[in-house]
Amino acid sequence: MLLRDVLKPALSCTESTGLKVEECVACARSAASQIRGGWLRILGAPDYRAYLAHHAANHPGSHPLSEREFVRTYIERRYNGRGARQCC
């Protein structure tokens, strides 16, 4: 099951691309941006692009925070919140 989970996104990508170069490039781009976002989240670092996407989807019409504001709020919330965040 683990293996199938890992292979699924890759397989679906090859299915849709066929032989078109643009599609391959777009596919690689989206994979790269997914890896970038995932890595930021593992680190617990702010991901402004993901925030913009969330904002556009859930709060259309209102102004999102600027990148500077978002980064500040995110880090403050993450590290100055209550409770344990890091283990022994």
């Binding site: 970038r36 978002f70 890091q86």
Partner: protein, 702 residues
């Protein structure tokens, strides 16, 4: 992927799966046979790692699936807190592999590295067995079940869940217990750093450099290029590697060398002052950037060490079982039962994880079924780190291992005396070997460096140098390993002091309301100082008390950490019974019972054993009686030192008794709530009412 599609999988998939799992089981059995049958010749560490990996795979595939489907009944039709409260900040539905990485980075710290190194004095076999059995039936179960409970309660914390399910008194007890373990843990970690850096200008220099490096990164990510974590981290990693390289020149420099050479008590003060200041600085300046650096290194080192062990395939030179299982070992005293089971905490079962499993992780879970991979799987991964740390300690020459980990009170502080004592135990070693090892890793001495970090660093340096770079790189890898541990210990000291501050404010708020205001600068300073004073006292005493140190504080840490695990598992048991799933309560009840037996026995022995090498009060009485009579007992050198030993041991004994009492109170509340729940006909657990995904059908809660 839902279970529906899995169970209706086509025949070929089933056949392949059957063959693969039969293969894993056979390989695991083969590896264990290899370890068991080669008792008189050295076994390769690769066998140990292989056996462990097979156990993890089998446990994950079968036991965690049973827990997920039968015991907890994970239900993907229910919306998770991340979906219900998605705010793009705290609550974010996240890919399960990413949550796994995040959760693993949060639970893995110095704990799984230190415990197994200390426990190696009893041989690699008992430690391996406890790490494997412990993680499969206790540690991973705890992390998984608590994660599940928190997901079903909007991501609430352990303390809040105890209050909801077991009442306010139990909640208060859990809060005090958590604060106690936090203080002890910070003290133990602080001591590990101090012991590793004492009289080591190379190490002190590289660790000191991390502070300005992190600050430059912080400013860069806040003001120059907001949010550019990759650029800042790349800068940080390069600077750190350069600092390790140039550290050798600093150490040998006529003016800089002495400027970075400090005694252990001086370093204790340094870390106390550091902790107080760092935890009051803005988080973006120091804490966040260094956290990124430490996560990078953590993941890198774990991967590199695993590759290194397979490339080098070093032999385990420690025996499978040493004579120190009788309790006379120098690294920590006390017999195998119960002390092995509290010395190896993280890696087998760690109560602290229940705080992470009910912290940020449940707010990121996208589907309930992912909790199995993240909670159970994440803990298996941490256990794997513990196995590798054990390997690193056991591939060393046992003589070197004991030279590094025995207190000065036992083996003296010269290579000659140490070699004499250790050889008399049956591990023949010459003073030259000890001096040579120290100079190989670029240090003046390796004696009495208890605490795991240096031992692990020498073992790692040996493995890494043979895999990457050759003997000339041993000193580099040694200091890399020291830096790597110091980095996340300093982060833990900073973050832990902040968390401890909130707990103290919570408690103080009940006494005098204004002290509970987390926005008040006065209250923040008071609570921070109290927290720092709490752990700082233990760190300082650990460096000046002739009998103190990691060897004294680690059992206390183990008892308190396992006690917290006991509390978490008691909560889990209460919740299972309240859900009317008493049929499966053994899943959490069995590990709870084992942990309670271990912690209560160990607590009782540490406090009241008449053997002064084990019992805190016995040792305290011995020294205070002798001091009153005017005689001086070695290794103390004055009446003042005698009184210090006595006082410290009274404090440690009192704390141990307090932990034991807390556990007993929690057990009482569990029994009370469980009996109540058994008498009611309907489930009474306080889960958040389910919201069902569009198109999904939630299963009945019974």
């Amino acid at each position: 992927m839902s279970d529906q599609t899995l169970s209706s999988s086509s025949m070929p998939y089933r056949t392949i799966s059957w063959v693969v799992w039969a293969g894993v089981i056979a390989l695991g059995a083969f590896a264990f046979a290899g370890i068991a049958l080669n008792r008189n010749e050295p076994v390769s560490a690769a066998w140990l790692v292989t056996a462990a990996i097979c156990v993890y795979l089998i446990a994950y595939r079968f036991y965690s699936k049973f827990i997920a489907n039968r015991v907890l009944r994970l239900d993907d039709a229910r919306l998770t807190p991340a979906e219900r409260h998605n705010d793009g900040l705290d609550y974010v539905p996240t890919n399960k592999y990413v949550v796994f990485g995040h959760h693993f980075a949060a639970i893995a710290g110095a704990g799984p590295l230190v415990g197994p190194v200390l426990a190696a004095q009893m041989g690699y076999l008992p430690s391996t067995l406890w790490i494997l059995v412990g993680v499969v039936f206790a540690g991973a179960v705890q992390d998984f079940v608590i994660l599940f409970c928190s997901i079903r309660r909007d991501g609430r914390s352990l303390g809040e869940m105890v209050k909801m399910e077991m009442g306010p008194i139990a909640g208060g007890v859990a809060l005090v217990g958590t604060l106690g373990i936090m203080i002890i843990i910070l003290a133990a970690l602080g001591l590990v750093v101090v012991k590793a850096l004492g009289e080591s200008p190379w190490g002190t220099f590289t660790v000191a450099i991390t502070i300005p490096t992190a600050m430059v990164m912080g400013v860069y990510m806040r003001s120059i290029r907001p949010g550019k974590v990759g650029e800042a981290s790349a800068f940080g990693v390069v600077v750190l590697l350069l600092a390790i390289w140039y550290g050798q020149y600093v150490a040998n420099d006529a003016t800089l060398g002495p400027a970075f050479t400090y005694s252990a008590p001086a370093l204790a003060w340094a870390i106390i002052i550091y902790g107080a200041i760092a935890s009051m600085l803005p988080v973006w300046l120091l804490l966040a950037p260094r956290d990124y650096l430490s996560t990078f290194l953590k993941i890198g080192v774990v991967v590199a060490l695993a590759i290194g062990i397979y490339l080098v395939q070093p032999d385990l030179r420690m025996q499978a079982v040493t004579r120190f299982i009788d309790g006379t070992g120098p690294v920590f005293s006390g017999p195998l039962f119960p002390f092995l089971f509290i010395t190896i905490a993280c890696g087998a079962v760690s109560g602290f994880h229940s705080l992470i499993s009910s912290g940020t992780t449940p707010k990121m879970i996208e589907r309930e079924t992912h909790a199995r991979f993240v909670g159970y799987g994440g803990m298996l991964m941490e256990s794997f780190v513990a196995i590798m740390a054990l390997c690193a300690a056991c591939v060393l020459d046992p003589g070197i291992y004991f030279a590094m980990n025995s207190p000065a009170a036992v083996i003296g502080d010269t290579p000659q005396r140490a070699a004499e004592v250790i050889s008399s135990w049956g591990w023949v070693i010459t003073p030259e070997t000890i001096t040579q090892t120290a100079s190989d890793v670029g240090e003046r001495t390796i004696l009495n460096r208890a605490g795991g970090a240096p031992t692990l660093a020498v073992g790692m340096a040996e493995i890494m140098a043979r895999a990457f770079g050759g003997q000339g790189f041993q000193a580099f890898w040694y200091h890399f390993a020291i830096l790597f541990e110091a980095l996340f210990i300093l982060t833990a000291v900073d973050a832990g002091t902040r968390a401890g501050r909130f707990m103290i404010q919570d408690l103080l708020g009940h006494v005098y309301a204004p002290l509970g205001h987390t926005e008040s600068a006065f209250s923040n300073v008071v609570a921070t100082m109290l927290c720092v004073a709490g752990w700082g006292w233990f760190v300082y005493q650990g460096t000046v008390d002739p009998l103190g140190g990691v060897n004294t504080i680690w059992p206390l840490f183990g008892i308190s950490n396992q006690m917290l695990a006991g509390i978490a598992l008691l909560l889990a048991t209460t919740i299972l019974i309240k859900l009317k799933r008493e049929r499966y309560a053994w899943v959490t009840l069995a590990p709870t019972a084992w942990l309670l037996v271990c912690t209560l026995t160990a607590g009782w022995m540490k406090a009241f054993s008449s053997d002064p090498r084990i019992g805190f009060f016995a040792l305290a009485n011995r020294y205070s009686d002798a001091a009153a009579a005017g005689t001086i007992l070695a290794p103390a050198k004055s009446i003042g030192e005698m009184q210090r030993v006595a006082f410290n041991n009274y404090i440690c004994g009192t704390l141990t008794v307090m932990f034991v009492v807390l556990v007993v109170i929690m057990a009482y509340f569990t029994i009370k709530m469980s009996l109540q729940a058994l008498r009611t006909a309907l489930p009474s657990a306080a889960e958040t009412p389910p919201m069902v995904r569009e198109g999904g059908i939630a299963h009945a809660p019974a």
